[in-house]
């Protein structure tokens, strides 16, 4: 894919306790399927999906934890240069909600302070087993200045909306930044991936 194939590129990173449905959300959105079982996808680093928003092509690069959240061992480098974070919990699991402050601390430490965070309560198809009320989550997300959404990766409820809304916000944020901030300040990601470094021969 060459540069001209999209107007925007964003890195979106998923975090939250193991088992809340992060991988399912990504696969539902990128592949349109709900994988059976606890299907950790071996060898897949991030998924790409290009969406069109108001005529503009937005390439979303969506990163999953690679299972490192299971024993609380996510690498800091995972958070670097993320444009957005999807912090997920499971509405049928109180524990996954109670861990959110810990995740927020980790975000505060390692993610860019410009990052957009969305709080997602997943598995709303299991309404009868709900342990975390919508109101509690709304209050929490408001206090933390986060967007909030409830989803079901299984029933494909709100999954498109989650990513598309996020893409919209990222676009408007990016626009604002270039307007307000055309003085180049050192931001995360100012560096280059190796293949982009310029060459300058002695000869």
């Amino acid at each position: 894919m060459s540069m001209e194939d999209y107007d925007f590129l964003f890195k979106i990173v998923l975090i939250g306790n193991a088992g809340v449905g992060k991988t399912c959300l990504v696969r539902r959105f990128t592949q349109g399927l709900f994988p059976p079982g606890q299907g950790a996808t071996i060898g897949v680093d991030f998924m790409i999906k290009t969406v069109e928003i108001n005529g503009e092509k937005v390439k979303l690069q969506i990163w999953d934890t690679a299972g490192q959240e299971r024993f609380r061992s996510i690498t800091q480098s995972y958070y670097r240069s993320a444009n957005a974070l999807i912090l997920t919990y499971d509405i049928t699991c109180e524990e996954s909600f109670r861990c959110l402050p810990e995740w927020l601390r980790e975000i505060e430490q390692y993610a860019s302070n410009k990052v957009i965070t969305v709080l997602v309560g997943n598995k709303i198809d299991l309404a009868e087993r709900r342990e975390v009320s919508q109101q509690r989550a709304e209050e929490f997300s408001e206090a933390q200045d986060m967007y909030y959404l409830e989803t079901s990766a299984k029933e494909s409820d709100n999954v498109e909306k989650l990513f598309l809304d996020l893409a919209c916000r990222l676009i408007s944020e990016a626009r604002q930044n270039t307007l307000v901030n055309n003085v180049s300040s050192p931001l995360p990601g100012e560096g280059k991936s190796i293949s982009y470094l310029t060459c300058c021969n002695f000869n």
């Binding site: 193991a18 349109g32 709900f34 299972g67 061992s73 430490q109 990016a174 470094l197 002695f202 000869n203």
Partner: protein, 649 residues
Amino acid sequence: MADNLPTEFDVVIIGTGLPESILAAACSRSGQRVLHVDSRSYYGGNWASFSFSGLLSWLKECQENSDSKEETAAAWQDLIHETEEAIALCRKAETIQHTEVFCYASQNAEDSVHEIGALQKDASSVSDTLTEPLHSAEMPEERQSDITSNEIPVEQTPRSDSKVSLEESDTEESLDKEKYCGEKTCVHPVSDGDMVENKPTVEDSTSQPKRNTITYPQMVKESRGFNIDLVSKLLYSQGSLIDLLIKSNVSRYAEFKNVTRILAFREGKVEQVPCSRADVFNSKELTMIEKRMLMKFLTFCLDYEQHPDEYQDFQQCLFSEYLKTKKLTPNLRHFILHSIAMTSDSSCTLDGLKATKNFLQCLGRYGNTPFLFPLYGQGEIPQCFCRMCAVFGGIYCLRHKIQCLVVDKESGRCKAVIDHFGQRINANYFIVEDSYLSKETCSTVQYKQISRAVLITDQSILKTDSDQQISILIVPPVEPGACSVRVTELCSSTMTCIKGTYLVHLSCESSKTAREDLESVVKKLFTPFAETEVDEEELRKPRLLWALYFNMRDSSGVSRSSYCGLPCNVYVCSGPDSGLGSEHAVKLAETVFQEIFPSEEFCPPPPNPEDIIFDGDDKQPDVPGTSTVTVAKLESPEEGENLESPLQN
């Protein structure tokens, strides 16, 4: 921890330093079930980088006496069967010594101008708020609001069993405004006798800009803006680490910047070494004649093999002597010897020529110096390899202690480890970072030491139009035979220090304690921060806001055979070496991998996720039980991905 750790693996790796992490990635990539653990709460071991308060906690932890913290761990002795033997592992690594911290920045959050002397008064009433040890925190290191202390007492911890010869430190000579010795604050007057000789090079005397003042509370508050490496390394643009990062595609987890300048220190002056053609021509320091001489010599070095007559008679001579015969001025000879070839005074001509040629070839790869630096610090690199391991199914557990190796008496092979829960974890191969090995295992091992200093300063050692330079400077030894000191200066756009500061790393092979080895160089280049400016001269030097000295053990030269009683399927990785690159770690990882899996390829490139594109409407059928991704559409591989700029217009 809700989840139970599986107990069957192919490879268990203990320690998350660079060689272990590369090995983890390599093993996992080749299909092995990998468990990768570290007893610490952070990745990287002695390769880690820390936020400012993270570093303070790390220091605290280094000083904690290992015996004082007996932890309650499940007894493992009872878990060893009759047919087995246990090899106990070490509780706490002791690889850091002689830590000394000096804070020069103002302690006052409000302003920068206030009475001198007033701030040291309460130094002995040190608060304990900083004592939260790394492991106890659920989340890694810092919690900024907890750090309210405005003093950091850091003890000098001389150890009697040290290999480093300890001399009574000469406090008289110390340039410190204030020095913390345990709970006491010793205030030493600044002696600037030997600083006078240092003339600043770039004199912007027209307008002496008013210096901004970063205070200590500010550094604590913006703690996470720092990523301070324990090692002081760069990547050679033609080096084996870059090659491995590219080959394995791990490079996509990190971003890099070019080192922008190579500096030299000569006759008390810091100068930029011109090393590309453009540099040479633009240099203001060199005369026209010098420019021509240098170009001619460098051009010759590029293919010196083709001109044996030019050097044949001097092959075994010293390179420095040979340079004299080439009619080069002392200036140029210094540049070539120390900054381009980076050879020692005792190197012979052939080595010198080879190094110079190499340098010039490295220049060709990226940018105008042969070095790269990873954004957020060198500590990112081990983590990138760990992510690769995890992506291929490796399981990660920080804060997970391993108590012992379990050896089968009959076969003599290690068959399991027992962790701090008393849980037995079985595997075929075990890779252990050497600081986890017990004193008994290492009783005959001899170590070298690395002397390190970490400085936070307010200006660059060589000011130019851009304040965003990344520089390397080699300061040759004053006495012949001593080691040269390597200085790297990082600017805030490397994401390792906050705006308005520079992060300076010094390192050399130890002959004494880190401060004894490095302080003279620090004095030459910097002046301690003081609220009232004393000396016009001193004013032009960058000011020290904060300084840390420590010695790190260098086990890179230790051979496997010097460890006592290790089973053959236990492999040992060493900590960081003193070299500028990480070639040693890469070599070590590759050697161990090839030993364990001789027929497997070492870190081949994974499939590129860029090539896996899923169209929304193009639904894939569920494939129960598969762990591979269904590739909907393959695109032609891309050169690379610039993650950074969301705007591509």
